[in-house]
């Protein structure tokens, strides 16, 4: 039994997800009228979760061989025919580090949201629930106004946090799926938070529908797994070599896959939806319609991480039958989709104008990285990148929100409402206006592009590349290196366009730094964006390797039954990753140093740029391929033919027949027989009633007396029997 | 064990020996022995009243910058005896239309209700009338006899002031019993039992440190239970003459009077037992008479607070009093009870128990205060919304 302050740690783990859920109900039911109280409730709730999460994490750190001695506790939940379906909590090294970064990012996002939604500002004059605030007149100036649905935001995002915590601490696929779906619901609610905007509504629906496709397959996978093994508990399946062996050797009936492969692929499709991998990536860029803290929540801390977290969890199953030679079918597919998505999304990101969309595609790309890493078996590297990415991407999103907020301030100040505060080409020179945002964003950007040695992104990305190289997956290695180059390039593009140079619009000139509640989380996250990488420096790294032990590898690696060995050092991947990072950054800076309102790449790339700008026309393709045909099909077949001709025709025929039959019955049967009986019954009832009504005196005690008399009669009969 | 260290045990043994020498059956011995100890405790309570009345008059006088009784005996100590003689010799008036039996029973019941509490008071280790395993609940139970006596007195007097006073009193007593019971449950929770002896023996740290808010609420609601200022609406002279005992004279009035004083001191003693560690103090385990001394000191501390409040605060309005109970004391007490149960379970046996409980108490008190001020401010705002009512003007 592992204990924290004398309490079993497992009970603490049970408590981790609860405060946000309580906060959700408290805010919705009681405090929603009071903004200050609502955000206090929300922030205090996640702060409690944060505290508990960190306590659990620290406890886990103190346990020797934590991979074998995990924190686990189960309770019986659903009674089944024999036994119970039990649910429970499980903290092993993987979920411990996940809990750690989730706790930190979520807390930061909550604090940031207070400032982002303009708490403390006056109410807007024309603000309307369901629309972003328009600003309020205050002493002749236009100042930002408070979000009209401020409290509701905190309620939803608290529910979101509950979903994520549930997912992280659960010890079985079912509760994990519950958390997963709660997040799906919350992302729908939050992307469509400004529901009066048609684009937000559409984005919400799109996100919901697209992830649903993945979820259906995932549910199929869960069902398949349950019917194959009779349990959904991670430790019973994934840490049980016999079960895995059986699953890997049992053929399924589909496409020659083993059962493990089939289930793995089905579950992976869930991840494809949730983590926005090609071809289900289309929802994530549109999800930028929601408020920026939501974007950070979805793209960094929780939802997309959840997808990767799930495949990390299921890795033993996905890799069942893999003996460091041939990759399994599921792993091959993951490697392919991950690598492809990484490159594909990076190319799109290069041509986006919207500051948040660039980050959105960057997220897709980085998630592709993780999936690809997992696909080639680099388990620790994938987990490591998940952690570092969570920190620096949360930082970048919050930073971009801060930029947008600052520029919006400028927009309000100048009154020029045609300027899009999210378009990077409307910015420029914000370095001096928003120093804190600039420096933190710079740190995040460098981490994203993998700036050598210093940033966390470098270490995690390098580890993936090294792993791919060392195990001879050259195609994956090359694709990922290319993607890294593009990543560095668009990051440099973004930072240059946004912060460097001269302001391109009036709004950018009047941008201003934001309040403390927004900047402090940025600073804290930037610390992590740098330092999170230091726990995973390979031991054989030249010069600094071995200064700090490669803690992350030992810790997270111990999650698996068979601890992965660290790869030997090789100079090629290191050189490549340094080169692509610095090269991409330099190139980006050079190209965009003097950019005006149009993108210099447009001329250079020509039609390809259009292709990229329109995201390879994927939305249009899906519209043609799926939406239009299904509409046409519903119209022609379902509505006109099936409904109008077949069903209606049958119904009309049947109705006519029934009418005829009914007439016959009425004349021959109902009137003479049934009515006759009914009338007689009524007559008799009436007669009896006339007699009996005399005992209904309306005096309750006489009734009581009668009741007592009857009871006593029965009693007396019994008594006579005794006495005889 | 010498007589001077533990006189009660010595005397008790003596009586037991005496009873055994009479060759009575065992059941009767227990019965008689219990009867004697109960009578002893009750007599102690009654004797105490004499001293209490003198003390209260002295203290109240000091608060009002007077000297108080100082003629009869040294420091006026014999004043109360003189008053008793006067009360006993006064004419015993029974109203013509009064319900005689009930009228006479009410003051006796009133005094009994208070004396019954003393049956479970642990004076010192081993000194207790009877150690019920449901002691705390018992205190609450005998409190209902007090309510009954008020109702009987008010109704049987056949006087509208007395009846109105009784109504008010009962409403107040029943209402304030709720937070009082709730806060009494908190020491029960902390002690893991309702027995009074257990309550004292587990208080290695006084419960006032674990549950200060509960202690305060208990004291406040107890003041209301004994009907003292600022909650003395049951005998508001300007409104009700003298409340439910308007028609009582002589020694019957004296009984109500004594019951009230004894009850006030009982509240202090209960506060001492529930929150201040009862008889505990240095050396009390070895020398029980020291424990008795400590308990009395602590009890007088609580009693002094009651007197202090009485001399300081004015009477509050009846609707305010009810609102204070239902909208502040009761919710806060409920919250405290739930929170204490949770925290005490979570932190049981750890070093965090004291700070966690103390902190939670303070937070609940602060939150309760904050919310109630918010509410009252909102009410005030709503009140100002109404149009001004027409006021009669001099022609």
């Amino acid at each position: 039994m592992i204990e924290t302050f004398g309490m079993p740690t497992a009970s603490l783990v049970w408590l981790v997800p609860l405060p946000p859920l309580l906060a959700f109900f408290l805010i919705l039911l009681f405090t929603r009228r009071n903004n200050a109280l609502s955000h206090t409730v929300g922030v205090v709730a996640v702060a409690i979760s944060w505290l508990l999460g960190n306590l659990v994490f620290l406890t886990a750190l103190g346990v020797d061989h934590f991979g074998e001695h995990v924190i686990a506790s189960t309770v019986n939940w659903l009674p089944l025919g024999e036994g119970f379906f039990s649910i429970g909590v499980l903290i092993d090294p993987l979920s411990a580090v996940t809990l750690f970064f989730v706790a930190w990012t979520v807390l930061m996002i909550f604090i940031y949201s207070i400032g982002y939604h303009n708490f403390g500002q006056p109410k807007g004059d024309h603000d309307h629930p369901g629309l972003p605030p328009h600003g309020a007149k205050d002493h002749g100036h236009t100042v930002p106004s408070i979000e009209p649905m401020y409290a509701r935001f905190f309620a939803f995002i608290a529910l979101f946090a509950f979903g994520m915590y549930t997912l992280v601490v659960s010890d079985n696929l079912l509760t994990l799926f519950v958390g997963w779906e709660i997040m799906g619901l919350c992302s729908y609610l939050l992307i469509g938070f400004w529901y009066a905007k048609p684009s937000a509504r559409d984005a919400a629906k799109k996100a919901f529908m697209t992830t649903r496709i993945g979820d259906v397959f995932m549910l199929l996978g869960i069902v398949a797994l349950y019917s194959a093994t009779g349990t959904l508990n991670f430790r019973e399946i994934l840490y049980n070599a016999a079960v895995l062996e059986t699953l890997a050797n049992t053929p399924s009936l589909i496409a020659g896959l083993s059962l493990a492969g089939l289930i793995g692929i089905l579950l992976f499709i869930g991840t494809v939806g949730k983590s926005a991998q090609w071809p289900l990536h289309v929802w994530l860029p549109d999800a930028m319609e929601g408020p920026t803290p939501v974007s950070a929540m979805i793209h960094a801390a929780t939802m997309v991480s959840a997808g990767v977290y799930m495949v990390l969890r299921m890795f033993p199953l996905l890799s069942a039958g893999w003996h460091h030679g041939e990759l399994t079918a599921a792993m091959t597919i993951m490697a392919f989709i991950g690598a492809f998505t990484a490159l594909f999304a990076a190319t799109i990101a290069v041509a986006q104008r919207d500051i948040k969309r660039v980050l959105a595609y960057s997220t897709i790309s980085q998630l592709g990285y993780m999936i690809a890493a997992l696909g080639i078996g680099a388990y620790v590297a994938a987990a490591f990148h998940l952690v570092t990415h969570a920190f620096f991407k949360a930082l970048l999103f919050l930073g971009s929100g801060s930029v947008i907020h600052g520029v919006e301030h400028g927009v309000l100040h100048t009154g020029d409402h045609d300027t899009d505060p999210q378009d990077m080409f409307n910015m420029g020179g914000l370095k001096d206006k928003m120093p804190v945002t600039f420096w933190t964003f710079l740190i995040g950007g460098l981490a994203l592009s993998g700036f050598p040695l210093l940033t966390s992104g470098f270490w995690s990305k390098d580890e993936i590349l090294a792993d791919a190289f060392a195990h001879g997956h050259m195609s994956v290695f090359i694709v990922l290196a290319l993607a890294a180059l593009l990543t560095a390039f668009y990051t440099a593009r973004q930072i240059t366009l946004t912060f460097l140079g001269k302001p391109r619009t009036k709004a950018a000139e009047h941008a201003s730094e934001n309040v403390r509640t927004m900047t402090v989380p940025l600073v804290i996250l930037s610390v992590f964006a740098i330092a999170a990488g230091w726990v995973g420096i390979p031991e054989h790294f030249p010069a600094i390797g071995g200064l700090l032990p490669n803690w992350f590898h030992h810790f997270v690696g111990s999650t698996l039954l068979e601890h992965p060995s660290a790869v030997d050092f090789n100079i090629v991947p290191l050189l490549v990753s340094v080169l692509v990072a610095l090269g991409g950054l330099g190139l980006g800076y050079l190209v965009y140093r003097n950019a005006g309102q149009t993108d210099p790449l447009r001329k250079a790339l020509g039609p390809i740029y259009n292709l990229l700008e329109n995201k390879y026309y994927f939305d249009e393709l899906y519209e043609r391929l799926f939406v239009k045909p299904s509409q046409a099909f519903s119209e022609a077949f379902s509505y006109r033919f099936l409904d109008g001709q077949v069903i209606d025709g049958l119904l009309h025929r049947a109705a006519r027949g029934a009418m005829a039959l009914g007439g016959l019955f009425r004349d021959k049967f109902e009137i003479p027989v049934i009515d006759g009986v009914a009338d007689k019954t009524a007559d008799i009832t009436q007669t009896v009633g006339r007699v009996l009504r005399h005992i209904q005196t309306g005096q309750v005690q006489q009734y009581l007396l009668l009741v007592a008399l009857v009871v006593f009669g029965g009693f007396f009969y019994y008594l006579l029997n005794i006495l005889q | 064990m010498s007589f001077w260290q533990d006189p009660i045990a010595v005397i008790g043994q003596l009586i037991l020996d005496l009873l055994h020498s009479l060759n009575l059956p065992e059941g009767w011995i227990v019965f008689i022995y219990t009867l004697i100890s109960v009578v002893a405790v009750a007599s102690f309570g009654l004797l105490l009243v004499i001293f209490l009345i003198w003390l209260e008059r002295k203290v109240a006088a000091r608060f009002q910058d007077r000297v108080g009784p100082n003629r009869a005996g040294p420091f006026g100590l014999l004043q109360t005896f003189a008053d008793m003689v006067k009360l006993v010799t006064k004419e015993d008036v029974v109203p013509e239309k009064a319900d005689k039996l009930i009228f006479n029973l009410a003051p006796i019941l009133s005094l009994i209700a208070v004396l019954l509490i003393w049956a479970v008071v642990p004076f010192a280790p081993g000194w207790i009338g009877t150690d019920l395993n449901v002691g705390v609940l018992y205190i609450a139970a005998v409190g209902s006899f007090g309510i009954l006596s008020v109702l009987m007195a008010g109704w049987s007097s056949n006087n509208k002031y007395a009846l109105l006073g009784a109504f008010r009193a009962v409403a107040q007593l029943i209402s304030y019993e709720v937070p009082m019971l709730l806060t009494m449950m908190i020491p029960v929770l902390l002690a893991r039992g309702m027995g009074m002896v257990q309550m004292v023996t587990v208080q290695d740290t006084w419960f006032i440190f674990l549950a200060p808010a509960a202690g305060i609420i208990f004291l406040v609601s107890s003041i209301a239970e004994i009907g003292r200022t600022p909650f003395d609406l049951l005998e508001a002279e300007s409104e009700l003459v003298a409340g439910y005992h308007t028609e009582y004279t002589g020694m019957k009035f004296g009984m109500f009077f004594a019951a009230e004083f004894l009850h006030a001191f009982t509240v202090g003693v209960l506060f001492a037992i529930l929150f201040l560690g009862g008889w505990r103090g240095p050396g009390a385990e070895e020398i029980p008479i020291l424990g008795m001394f400590y308990l009395m000191i602590k009890g007088f501390l609580g009693y002094f607070v009651v007197m202090w409040v009485r001399s300081t605060l004015p009477r509050i309005r009846i609707d305010h009093m009810m609102a204070f109970n239902w909208k502040f004391l009761t919710p806060v007490a409920l919250a405290l009870l739930i929170l204490t149960a949770l925290l005490d379970k979570i932190f049981a046996g750890t070093a965090l128990r004291l700070p966690a409980l103390l902190g939670a108490n303070l937070v609940v008190l602060a939150l309760g205060y904050w919310i109630s001020t918010l509410m009252s401010r909102r009410q005030a705002k709503e009140r100002t919304k109404f149009k001004k009512r027409p006021v009669a003007k001099p022609a």
Partner: protein, 172 residues
């Protein structure tokens, strides 16, 4: 005769006498006070039966709440306080007959039952009534569902009583 038997006989007499007075007095306040006496007697019986907790609860709930409420109700529905001309209704003769038959029948039946002569067995060692009762009331193996249902019932009764007894509101 042991002490316990003595106490029982005395209390039993008090209970029956008070119950008789309660159902026959026309002065309702007196009836209510006799009811209090009955209730108190029952509490004493509980003590004799080693159910101290129930005894205390009996006093709190019945005397502290129910009886007080009864007296209040009697005073609020005044006019009949000091006695009615007729305290019994028109069928009270039948009631009397039936109830005395009922009582005698019960007593005869009890007399036939051999188990009625049982004596109280010793309580289990280390018997702690309060904690046993507490555990039984909240443990899923015990009576947690009836307990929760009872709490809901009390809440419903509370709200119902308020709604029913409230004076009709004007123009709402």
């Amino acid at each position: 005769m042991t002490v316990e038997q003595g106490i029982f006989l005395f209390i039993g007499f008090v209970i029956l006498f008070s119950a008789f007075m309660m159902v026959t007095r026309s002065n309702l306040i007196h009836a209510a006070l006799y009811l209090v006496l009955v209730l108190f007697g029952v509490a004493v019986l509980f003590v004799l039966l080693d159910a101290g907790f129930l005894a205390v609860v009996q006093i709190i709930v019945y005397i502290g709440a129910i009886a007080i409420l009864m007296i209040f109700a009697v005073m609020l529905t005044r006019g009949n306080v000091t006695g009615e001309a007729i305290s019994m209704n028109s069928v009270f003769g039948w009631g009397l007959l039936l109830c005395s038959l009922f009582g005698f029948a019960l007593i005869i039946m009890l007399g036939q039952w051999p188990g009625a002569a049982a004596l109280a067995p010793a309580l289990p060692a280390n018997w702690n009534e309060v904690s046993e009762l507490g555990v039984a009331l909240v443990s899923p193996q015990g009576y947690v569902i009836p307990f929760e249902v009872a709490s809901v019932l009390l809440l419903a009764a509370l709200i119902g009583a308020i709604v029913v007894a409230r004076p009709p509101q004007k123009d709402e």
